[in-house]
Every structure is written in C-alpha cells, then in structure tokens.
Symmetry: C2
Subunit: 607 residues, 2 copies
C-alpha cells in the first residue's frame, strides 16, 4: 500500500500564510527556535507560548498522527480531558500544593479554585473509577493528545521549554504488578517505534520519578548539545538521567589507627583551592599531597516547600565536587532549592561562611543557641554525599574564620541526618552497576514512562474486584510524550546553517517546486508539474511568486526544509528540470518524466 494519499495538498507561496525572516529573532538561543520562527512555522504570543502557522501546524499534525497510530497499535483508547480542571482531585493527591508556582491557578466567577492541568493522573484515575469496577475490565490503556500548561520559571528555547504545549499522555490500569510491567513494556516498545518513525535518534535513560511518585521510570532523550537534561552512559550499557545516577558507596574504613581530630590555623582560606594550598604548605600530609578530594565542603542551601515554607539545609560533599542543584532538587522534589543568601547567613551567625564545620550541624548539634537572643532552636538538617562513609578522614571548617579541623573522621567525629544524591556527576565516575566509567552528554527529554504504582489509585480510591471478589487497588502507569518538544527536537537534529531539513514523514510537504524565470512558460510548466504531483498524492509547496528572484526562492526553500527541491527554469529550454534533495546533489530529469520520477522518489522517502 502506498504511503501517499489519494490527493496531495498544493501550497502556493504566493498566497500561503508565511513570511520568512532573514534575521534571527533576538530572543532565540537555539537553532530550532531560531529556524522555526525564521521559516514561519511558529510565532511567539507570550513568553513560552506560541502560535502555530500553517506550515508548523502541518508538521505538528504529522507528529501527532504517528503518535496516535502507535498508541492505538498497543490498544490505547483515545479520550480527551479538559485543560481547565477543578482543584479537588489535585488537592486529594497533594499536587495542588506540590506543584508550587509551576501550576497556573485561577478562580471562576463563583470563586471556586481551578487549575490549568500540567498532567492528568488524577482525572484519568477518577474516570476509570467512574466507569470500571472489575478486574475483567482490565488491562486498560487510555491516552490523549492535549494542550498542557506549566508556569515555568524560565521558559526557554522556544518549544523546548514552553508554558503551553501539546503532550500525549497515557495511563495504564492493571490489577497486578505483572500487568503493570507488561503495560510499561508495551509503552516502551511503542515509544521506540514512535521515535524511530519520527526519524529521531534517542537514548533511553533511567530517571527519577520526581513529583510523580512511583517506582520504575525511564526517559527518552534526543541527544543534543542544547538539551536541558544531562545524562550519563557507560561502555557496558548503563544509561541514566544525571538526576537518577546513584553513587556507588565505598566500603566503610576502620579508623582505629586514625589520629585524633585537630584544629589548625589556616589563615585566608575561604576557598577549597586556598585551603589545599595552605594545608600542603603548613600541615603537610606525610604520605601524599592534600587534594580537594580530602576536604569536606559544607554547602548551605535554602529549600522552599510547595506550601511556601522556606528552610535551610546543609549538604556535605567532597571538596572536589560541586552541589548539582538539579540533582539536589530531584532528591528533594517537590521542594525547590537555591544557594543560601547573605540574609540566611545573617540569621544564622553560627554558620561561619567558608569555615562551616560539622560541630554546628547534624544530630551532634541538635539544638543551637542563638547568640543574639539566647534562644535555643533546632539545628539545620545536615546531609552527606554517599561517598562520605564511616572511617573517611577530612579537612573541614572549624566554625571560626581562619581555622580548619584536620583528620576529622566520619562516624567517629561527626555524623549527619542522612545521605543525599546531590554532588555533581563527572565524566569518568564509575557506573553504579560496575559497567565502566561514565561519559556525560546532553539531551532533550521527549518522553517519560513511569510505573506510578498505586499512589494515585489509593489517594482517589480506585479499586476493582479481583477474581475472588475482593476489592484491590489498581496499579497504574503514566506515559508522556512532549509532542511539541519532539517537533523542536526534530528541528534541532535536522537543520544546517541554511535552514531546516525535515525527515519526509514529518515535513510540511514532500516537494518544493521553484519556478525561476520570468516567462509564462516557466510558470505554466511548474504549475503543471506541481498539479501532476498533487494528483499522485504528493504534498507540494509551489513557489509561484512572480517577482521574487531565484536567489530568494532558493534561500526560502532551504530555510523551509522540504526534503525534495524541483527547479523549473533555465533547463526548460533543454526539456529538463532539476531535482535536488534538501542537502544533496542536483540531477537533471526530463520534463516528461518529472512527475513520475519525483513521485517515485517521494514514495521511497516515505517507505
């Protein structure tokens, strides 16, 4: 069966609602954003909010159609939820608060609370609860392709991080864990087919489930230097989102032989570098040089809970690593974190900036006395990097300027309230599964699959009767594809300095016919060719603009990025037209054969 329709569309550039721009828009940082704007696919309506022009909408419709087909192929049934939803279900699961400022909230004329849904777990759970009651009704997979809203703090990169965007979200419902595993695997396979059909390179990485709850979770990333997600890969096949990387925990070390901790003068050592230098100069270690990895850096962070309450947290990491805010936030989700500010330090004079020692932190200092007021209060929670196991020896601050403690032994001289995965992951770090050193890369998150488990079903009371007539809580999966973001990832992966270069399956048209010249015979021949292609089911952009120079027409064709260019012009006198792939070699084809040859070329691109 041919992939071509009965009749293609003919888009005449003389009347198509599009204007190309020669200049990059000022606010566009990445290629997809720049080119989608310049080629007239989208226009910005507000920060992170875009309007789709005809060419963009055609690409979007094709991406959606591929997603829809593959979801139907795994038995997904399409539904469509509202975007404007009442507060109550999200209140029941705690997400009304957890989403914090990322949620668009509003009130209707009766002062009832509503939200613009960022995702629909609650509504799907309630709908299934409304309709189904028996295990015989399961398994069930529902999906929608729908507009979603997130009030991003920093909308950026055009469609890649927007505030109004299109997602495919689907949800699986099973009464057994094995059923959930199967539904998860079906989605995983469907996603592989979807991204393959879209022509997108992808990596599947282990992920944190974040605010979604649940257990198993993987992301589909499109590798791209402009991606917001950093992921790791090992030679042995481990791959994970950097937030999900688990630090291999070293064995604890005996410390019977360790010297006692001793405080030393270390003047002018506000940074790790100065500290290491002074330590090596004034307090040399007998066996080797001190390095940054011997120091314990205590980083003060301000953590904001979804309900707006703000508190401090100190994280201890080896001094050769930074705290990675994204990893920290993933570990603390749904809370948000930032570096503590001057005002925070001012309120906590016991935290001596640059010289913070564990004396003031953690269980060993559960109560502190405010020197200004004489009041005692709880210490600040103190969490350690998992590498800081009992027996490891550290140089750290001595809680006064210009002094550090040496030979401070974890487990002997200090303990913490727990561990946290917050230190940066670095190239060369060992993979947690022993599969070798990690390499780091960046990617655009296009899809995310989660095993939600019973969290939402429990919160909202979704149960079915099992084989024995017993009510059991349903287990769910949640599976998303950022449809508009995948389109942007396609543009990122398929462009050059001259413009976009769409894969044929998602291109706004298959062929771009350019009429160059002034004679009516050129336009007549080009129109006839375009019509012939359209009759064969080929989608054609036809540049019929009468007074536009060939140079401008070619530049526009390369900017628009339709896969095949057909030039009707000078060659006409010799009975030929030129056929040229978007980034390939030109070929002369006899006018009489052109429709057949180009149709065949398109059919093979779509095969």
């Amino acid at each position: 069966m041919s992939a071509l329709a009965r009749r293609g569309d003919l888009l005449r550039l003389s009347s198509l609602f599009v204007r190309t721009l020669r200049e990059d828009p000022a606010d566009a940082e990445v290629a997809s954003h720049r080119l989608l704007i310049r080629a007239g696919y989208i226009r910005r309506a507000a920060p992170g909010i875009y309007t789709w022009l005809p060419l963009g909408l055609r690409v979007l419709a094709k991406v959606e159609a591929i997603v829809r087909e593959e979801m139907a192929a795994i038995g997904g049934q399409e539904v469509h939820f509202p975007a404007l939803l009442p507060r109550e279900p999200y209140e029941a699961t705690g997400r009304w608060e957890e989403y914090g400022p990322n949620l668009f909230r509003l009130q209707d004329r009766k002062r009832a609370d509503y939200l613009l849904a960022p995702t629909h777990e609650e509504m799907f759970t309630l709908l299934v609860k409304d309709l189904y009651s028996s295990y015989k009704d399961l398994p069930l997979t529902l999906f929608q392709i729908q507009t979603k809203y997130r009030d991003e703090a920093r909308p950026r990169a055009g469609l890649i991080r927007g505030r109004e965007f299109v997602m495919k979200d689907s949800y699986s419902f099973d009464h057994t864990d094995a059923g959930l595993d199967e539904a998860y695997q079906r989605h995983r396979d469907a996603y592989e087919r979807i991204f393959t059909r879209l022509g997108l390179d992808y990596v599947i990485v282990s992920a944190m489930s974040g605010a979604m709850g649940g257990s198993r979770s993987e992301e589909f990333l499109s590798p791209s230097v402009i991606g917001e997600d950093t992921f790791v890969r090992s030679p042995g096949g481990y791959a994970a989102n950097v937030e999900a990387v688990i630090t291999p925990v070293p064995e604890a070390i005996g410390y019977d032989d360790a010297p006692a901790a001793h405080v030393e003068d270390t003047p002018d050592t506000p940074t790790i570098e100065t500290l290491v230098a002074v330590a090596n100069a004034k307090h040399p270690r007998p066996d080797r040089e001190w390095t940054a990895a011997d120091t314990l850096k205590n980083v003060v962070l301000a953590v904001t809970q979804p309900d707006g309450t703000r508190g401090l947290l100190v994280v201890g990491v080896p001094g050769d690593r930074e705290v990675d805010l994204k990893r920290l936030e993933a570990a603390l989700a749904p809370a948000e974190a930032e570096a503590a500010g001057e005002a925070d330090f001012a309120r906590h004079p016991e935290l001596v900036k640059g010289y913070i020692g564990p004396a003031v932190l953690g269980p060993q200092g559960t109560q502190v006395t405010d020197p200004a007021t004489g009041e005692t209060r709880s210490a600040i929670p103190y969490l350690l990097d998992p590498r800081i196991v009992p027996g490891t020896r550290w140089i750290t601050g001595a809680d006064e300027p210009g002094r550090h403690v040496f030979d401070l032994v974890a487990g002997r001289d200090f303990t913490a309230d727990g561990t946290i995965e917050a230190a940066e992951v670095r190239a060369g770090d060992p993979a947690p599964d022993g599969s070798g050193p990690l390499e780091l890369a960046r990617g655009i998150e296009m899809g995310h699959i989660f095993q939600l488990g019973r969290k939402y079903a429990e919160a909202l009371g979704l149960k079915v009767l099992d084989e024995n007539g017993k009510a059991v809580t349903v287990t769910m999966g949640s599976y998303g594809i950022g449809v508009t973001r995948a389109l942007a990832a396609l543009a990122e992966a398929n462009h050059d300095e001259r413009g976009l270069a769409w894969p044929a399956h998602v291109a706004p048209a298959h062929v771009h016919v350019v009429a160059t010249g002034r004679g009516a015979e050129v336009f007549d021949a080009a129109a006839e060719l375009a019509e012939g292609l359209v009759a064969n089911g080929v989608e054609v952009v036809y540049d019929d603009r009468p007074k536009v120079s060939p140079g401008v027409k070619f530049a526009d064709a390369e900017l628009l990025g339709v896969p095949l260019l057909v030039v009707v012009g000078r060659g006409l006198a010799d009975g030929v037209v030129e056929v040229r792939p978007r980034a390939g070699e030109a070929e002369q084809v006899a006018v009489a054969d052109a429709v057949a040859v180009v149709t065949e070329r398109v059919a093979s691109l779509l095969a």
Copy 2:
C-alpha cells in the same frame, strides 16, 4: 471515489472504554446532554466542562473534519493559537473589561495578567499585522479549530452552553468593503455546506453583533425547542434572532385635538390589569374600551457595566408588552441588566413603584432632589419603546400611589432620552420589512458570521499599503462555529426515547454488530462478519460481550445510535443475519452476502 477508508476501525464492546447508564443523570435537562452521558460519549468534569470518551471523540473528530474540509475549500488556511493569552491585546480593544465576569482571568508567577481566550480577534489581527503589509497579500482567510473558554453565569444543557468548548473560528482580511462582502458570502456558503453535510436542519437569521462590534451579522440556528435563542420568521422570508428584530416605527400623530393631560384617582391599581379595569369603570373612554396597550409601563432596571459600575435605567413600553431582558441586554451590550430590586427603590423614593410617571424621568426632570438628604442629582435615564411616537396618548403613573395621568401625549407632555429595542417580540408582530406577521421559534446557535469592519484593525493598527502606496486600515470578518455545540445539536435533532440516532457521516461507527446467543459459532460468525466489514473500510462497533443478554445488547445498540444494526444470532441456523437501520425495518440477509450487502448499504448512507 468511495467515501470509505482503506480499512475501518473495529470497536469491541468487551474492551471499549464505555459504560452505558440506564438512568438519566440528575443534572441533565435536555436530551442531548442526557443521552451523550448515558451512552458514554462524554462525562462531566466540572460545571460546563466535559471529558470526551472514545465514542464521543470519534464523533467530534468527524464533525471537525467536515468543518476543516469546507474551510479549506474556501481558501481558509489553518493556524492554531494558544488558549492562554496575555492581557495587553484585549486591553487595547477594550475587551479585557467588556467581557466582565465571562472572562477567565489569571496571573502567572510574575503577576502578569493572562486570560483564557473566549475568541481570538485580537490575536489574529496582530498576527496578520506581523506578517503582512501590502494589499497584494489580501484577501486572506485564516481559521483554527481550538478550545475556547467562557465563564458562563449559568452553564447548562451539557455541551450546549459549556465553559470549555471547541470552536472553529475564522477571520477574513480585506482592504476593501467589497472584499469583505465576498469573504462574508464565501463563509455563508461554506456554512450552508457544513451544516448540510452534518445533516443538520438550519435557519439563517439576522443577528446583533453584540460585544463584537461591526455591521452585518447572521446566525445559523438549529431549530429546537430546547434552544436558548428565540428567532422570528415571516411568510415573506424575513428571519432574525429576536434580539435583532427592529420594531417598525409608526407615523407620528398630530395632537392638536388631544385633551389636556389630567390626573385621576385610580385606587388599588398596582398592575396593568387592575389599572385597565379601574380606568374602564371610573374613567371610561368614549370611543372604545381602554386596553393594556393604552397604558405606558415604566420598568426600572439595574444596569451593570463591564467595569462593575451599576446604575438604574427606566424603559417605557406599552403596557401589553413585557421588557425582554435578552433584547434589552443586546441593546445595551456589553452591559448586563436585571430588574431593579427593593434596595434600588429604597434609594430612589421618587420612583413610586407601580405608579412611576415620566415626571421624574428623562430630560424633563434632569435634576432631582433627594428628599432624605436634600441633595440634587441626575435623573435616571429614560428610554422608550419605538412605538411610543409623538402624538400617541397614554395612561401612566402620576408618581404617587393610587393616581394615574390620563391623556398624556408623547412629545407634548413627556419626552425621553431616546428609544430602545427592549419590548418583547410577539407572534403576529409585523416583520420590519413588511413581509408579513412574524412567527416565533427557538433554536440552538451553531454558527455566527460577522462583518467586523475596521474596529479591531483600527484598535491594533493593522494597515496595508494599497495600490497607490497609501496605508489603509484592513477590514475584517469574524466567523464562528460552535463545534461541540453543533455536535449537541446533532444529538438533539437525531434521537428518540431509546437513544441517539446519528447521521452516518458523523456516527462513531457505521455498523453495530450484535452477537446474540451463547454458542461459539455465533461469536465466530459475528467476528468474521465484523472483520469482513472492517476490511471493506466500514467502521464497526462489535458487541462481543459474552455474558450479556440480547435485551441489554439491543438496548445499548439503540442508546449508542450507530446507523445500521446487524444481528448475528438465531437466524444463523437458517443461514441469515438481520440487518436493521437504527429506526427502520429489519431485513434478513444471507450470511454469505452479508458483508457485501452491508458494505453497500453503508456506502449509500455515506454517498
């Protein structure tokens, strides 16, 4: 070319996400709402906000496809705007305020004002301004099929008046009035084709343009007793929304011979009926009986402007007519009106309820003194029904209880601040164009076409250079179809007491195959038949539920409303199946012929 696809869908009821309800939902007043819920097409998510289940979404997609095809056929180019929009463009045109409480407003995390768009005139105007600059770019028609929001005071009747709904909105751009006329006519023709293809009876009526501004305006109504719009028709072909009916103004009458106005005692006459009775008993008219039409009723109304300011207005109408609040509001748009309350009368003791005379109203009483405070202030505006022309003689209140003025002559004894179309329209009233007496009917507004003119282009600065290089303001049209509402109108027009009965072009499937019986041979034969139809491009609902009684299956089939029912059951022993239109006679068809016969039947339904 066949209207059938290459391969149809097969919807097995054993796994289709649908549950039918035997009982009407408590909140459903109208048939479409009741049946769409009961048949499992939609579910309520919040007041006026619905979720689309698989069957409903299939119908919606078919309605959208017909609208899309016909819009493309008149050269409409599809785009897609966000629903979440910034305040500024709506501020520029005044609609941020004018929409009043009907607009969903919200703020983002930076406290910037946003709205959920009820319609997109501003955004289309700005987009065209962004892209186009010459008359050569015009004419242009853009459209979208998109989710819209209105915070209705009284969402009702399911999809008919919802708060989140799907609309097709299109906009035409021309640089000449003649161009706008053509664009308007093209849309009018396209709408006729759309509603005809949908299988909907429709009436085109003249309409008010309301808050939209502009000049020529017509509505497409689906006649229905449950419709919210009242319209009129005359035998001569006049048709108008009742809000748009213009009262034929009688000729002024000379009043040289009219007796002087005189105040009479009319005790206990708080109503028109009591007044007419007392007038005939105590102050008889020499030539004929007094009737209600001889009395002038002054109705006090409270008018709220979009900015929330509230003031009173008095409307004088002949006593045999009520003030029609909808007509009044259409005349006052965007202000809203309601009957004045006790508190209003308390604040205006000069308004003697039941005895209000023109002495206290209108220009003849431009200042009034508040008897309580001694302050003077402006009189309440006074507007008259257009029938109350100079020379007409009236009985009306004398501004004190139990007394009325007789022989009060308009133009001699009182004048007003103007006229207003606020009196009710009644069956038998003359059509304004002289085409005969009006009859009244009700309808569901499915479409509305407007000549906006230059209002939005002026407010937002959309100009193009004309043939002479002169910047001219563009003239626009705005054209809407309530897609979800049209679907509801289809359900209203196509149902019986047993369920829905869809026209084939919009039905969720073409054929409903029911397997009745317990033997495997029945299910095998039914499955084979269903598969055969699907292979021919027929869309099939197949009731393969193993333990459901024939009675329940037939009831569900009639509730779902698929056009053709095929029963595979008892007849199988005789080698036949039963083929029955949703509301027609059954026919026995040989099993061997069934696929061919039913396919043929479907093809002719779709022809």
